[in-house]
Subunit: 360 residues, 3 copies
């Protein structure tokens, strides 16, 4: 247990763990519950990320990278599942779109910015970035096309839209599987893993890492349940629109752990890892988590959930995809590139804050 305690002692982010028990204490007001659940999720996510990295060192880069992305997205998946069971589809979709945009813009942009402030020019493997951007593009098309083709005619019946959503979801999941096959197996020499030798941090023993993973996952599930319950009332109290909460707050909270990893890698001039975390995570949400939620809604939700998003979310996803495509074209970065991408994200945040749209 010593490495876990040492880790907690040295990582100020983990001191927030103290807030975790507090949230089960008393009949608190929704706003306080909301604030506490945010504060509690962050250190849990950081622990999750740290434990995953330790496992990854043992299993090798290929499987480790996948594990890292998957467990990093676990918070989002659990939050989404809780909202799915509650039938809060608007929150689920705002959160999915928000995470995709947040990862592809803010996490990528802030990594390039923070890395660029320390290193004059940084190079990275553009092959991987292009692969991720291409898959993100496919997901955006799958989400965009049904809306465009349905528009202008008599609105498509809910049943038709369900059939379509199932078909496209299966296509996205298959493509995600093919993408893993491509990058982990048939052409893995083009997606060279980052050199873990530079890490220099003491690795945890396998047993501790796996135990931490299991324990933290359960705690994240509990905290997330409270988060979803309290978030809507808290938003009303704080004067925040549900769109802003779902799109910005949930995305930033859910992605906290990955951001810590991505930013820290960028500062260590390991931009390949930052790009892989930021875009890889966005791709996993778009091509795996989102379609899986659509399919699961038939079993878990009160009614089936479609793959249709509100036009504003689609527009932001298209812009995020275009930005990621244009930026990662060169495989070379400096601080201003990061600042530009972060500013695109800020435009979204400012607009959602000032002009709250009625998310459908």
């Amino acid at each position: 247990m010593t490495p876990l305690i040492q880790e907690i002692r040295h990582n100020p982010l983990l001191w927030l763990l103290a807030f975790v028990p507090a949230k089960f204490a008393a009949p608190l007001a929704h706003t306080l519950l909301f604030a506490l659940s945010i504060v509690a999720i962050v250190p849990l996510a950081a622990l999750l990320s740290r434990a995953t990295e330790s496992v990854a060192t043992k299993t090798g880069d290929a499987i480790g990278g996948l594990l890292n992305a998957t467990l990093g997205n676990l918070t989002e998946l659990i939050i989404a599942l809780a909202a799915l069971r509650a039938g809060q589809y608007a929150l689920v979709k705002a959160s999915i779109a928000g995470v995709i945009v947040c990862n592809a813009l803010f996490m990528l942009g802030a990594s390039l910015l923070l890395g660029g402030l320390k290193h004059h020019v940084q190079d990275y493997n553009r092959g991987n970035a292009r692969l991720q951007a291409g898959m993100l593009f496919l997901a955006t098309v799958a989400i965009l096309i049904p809306s465009v083709l349905a528009e202008g005619d008599a609105p498509a019946s809910a049943a038709t839209m369900q059939t379509l959503s199932v078909g496209l979801s299966v296509l996205l999941i298959v493509t995600y599987g093919l993408g893993l096959l491509f990058s982990l197996k048939t052409h893995r020499e083009f997606f060279g893993g980052a050199d873990h030798g530079e890490h220099g941090e003491a690795e945890w023993p396998m047993g501790l890492a796996l135990g931490t993973l299991a324990g933290v996952t359960v705690m994240v599930a509990l905290v997330s349940e409270v988060f979803v319950e309290s978030v809507q009332q808290a938003a009303t109290t704080l004067g925040l629109s549900p769109a802003f909460v779902g799109f910005v707050i949930v995305a930033l909270v859910g992605g906290a752990a990955e951001m810590v990893s991505a930013f820290s890698a960028a500062r260590k001039n390991r931009l390949d890892l930052s790009v892989a975390i930021a875009l890889g995570s966005a791709v996993q949400i778009a091509l795996f988590v989102c379609p899986v939620l659509v399919l699961l809604s038939f079993v878990l939700g009160p009614t089936p959930m479609s793959l249709q998003f509100w036009p504003g979310a689609v527009a932001m996803m298209i812009i995020a995809t275009m930005t990621a495509s244009l930026v990662t074209n060169t495989g070379r970065s400096a601080w201003f590139v990061g600042a530009l991408i972060v500013n695109v994200y800020l435009i979204f945040c400012i607009t959602l804050y000032v002009l709250p749209p009625a998310v459908r």
Copy 2:
């Protein structure tokens, strides 16, 4: 006549020729006529492609390539002319948009996929691909902008839209001509032709090739006439929407010959030829066939046909153009790139099948 018979003996696709006479035999139901005309067009298109290639070997790459693209698109042109004369403008436009999207996505994607399954990594001349993608982009803008600028105001009068369509059509045809001048004359050293030495197939004598060209073109015209007549009723019988038929079936049938050539070239690691056929054909439809049809509609059609397409078709053309631009940026391909592009096309097909839009 021997090489022609030999070709038919060795090419199983051409055995379908047996179906050609069958379709003139008896008062068949529309669905059967529809099926037979599809079955009959495929081997005719293959013969056309083969004869063209023989001529191309004699005339050299530059003029031969143009001839290849032009005659490959002959089927589409004849089908479109038959529909134009019948005033079926919705079918004409769905077919034009369908061919552009099918060539730029399915033909290109399947070539990269089939080539990539045989060869680990394939390189091609990205200069040519970029030229074609740029011209496709121009055509998309010409089709998009009138709709966007007209939208929201009082709808533009039909007469105004006609004047505009004529102006833009002339602009597109001029650009296509300039593109030929650029790639065949002033800068042809950048568009190096494929090496025909690898072919190894016996070339036909010039007389046989030209005779076959003439004869097959007449037969294609006859079969196409029946195809257009039967396609709408057949669609109703089979439960297919007119949009699906016009956009998917007609495009796949009309492009059969070029696909055979493009796929075979990709398997022989001649990706330059595949890309030139797929994108070159899409460009010729967009910048030459389509505007020529608009101009001809003044003479042949019951009323003038405009350059306006339904928004869904425009959206699919934009996505196809973007995909082609992003993909051909590197000049390097592996199987997953092809799979991604084919999947974009599949998204269109699934959506059109499940959610039939009312094509206007």
Copy 3:
């Protein structure tokens, strides 16, 4: 004074200066006033450009380039300020969008075309082109997103849209400042200035240059005032729509001086300078002039002006940005690339001429 007179003698464009006094002469009809103010602005703009270049030689490339862009855009700024004070916001916005599109498409395209007709292939620094295209992309997003998110709901209140416009305007101005910091200070070695040694023209003494600058700026202000007053009535008389005048005529007149510089640089195979002028000027309008006008409208205008544009203008700006991004990706050009870009611009002009939209 001799160099100024010599310049006027050798530059036929400057002979138009004779028209400047004519326009204050008599109570002319609006159409004549309009024509004369156009004719008068052109040589003033050319003088302004020439004087600026002389100053630039003294101050060095970095500050000189900025000065060149800024003073080149002075005409547009003064025209826009006059229209702003008159509350003609539709004209202001049409002119801003028109200048951005005109510079990013026509000025860039015609430079590549004219340069390409003289030189077989031309190379340029794509780093700078990509930076400018990226900043243009950010501005387009800032203008697009409020419309997209507001659309479909109850229209946002004017007050909300004002708050949003101010926020986004500040963001754009800050980004523009960061862009200058990046290209002029922290990473200036990547944006190597053009070699002025090739110029070969006699430089003006500093005093003459600064005096000309001051004098011409005052004259431009006077002529512009008349231009804006007469342009609307003249348009009605000539049968031109206000959209065509604002978008095409004003943009071409206002950018005349920069075009002269950009085209001449392209002919001298200094494509870096052409690209910097064309895209740099578009970026300055989008990220500096436009947001400053929004902020100034609180002080100068009858009511605050928002950052919202009519959808057609937004569409044209997006296409212009995409075109600039795609084209400048390679850093290599030939005449056909220029022809393609100019044709995209021609599509806009033809459509605006034939199908005049009601600019809001």
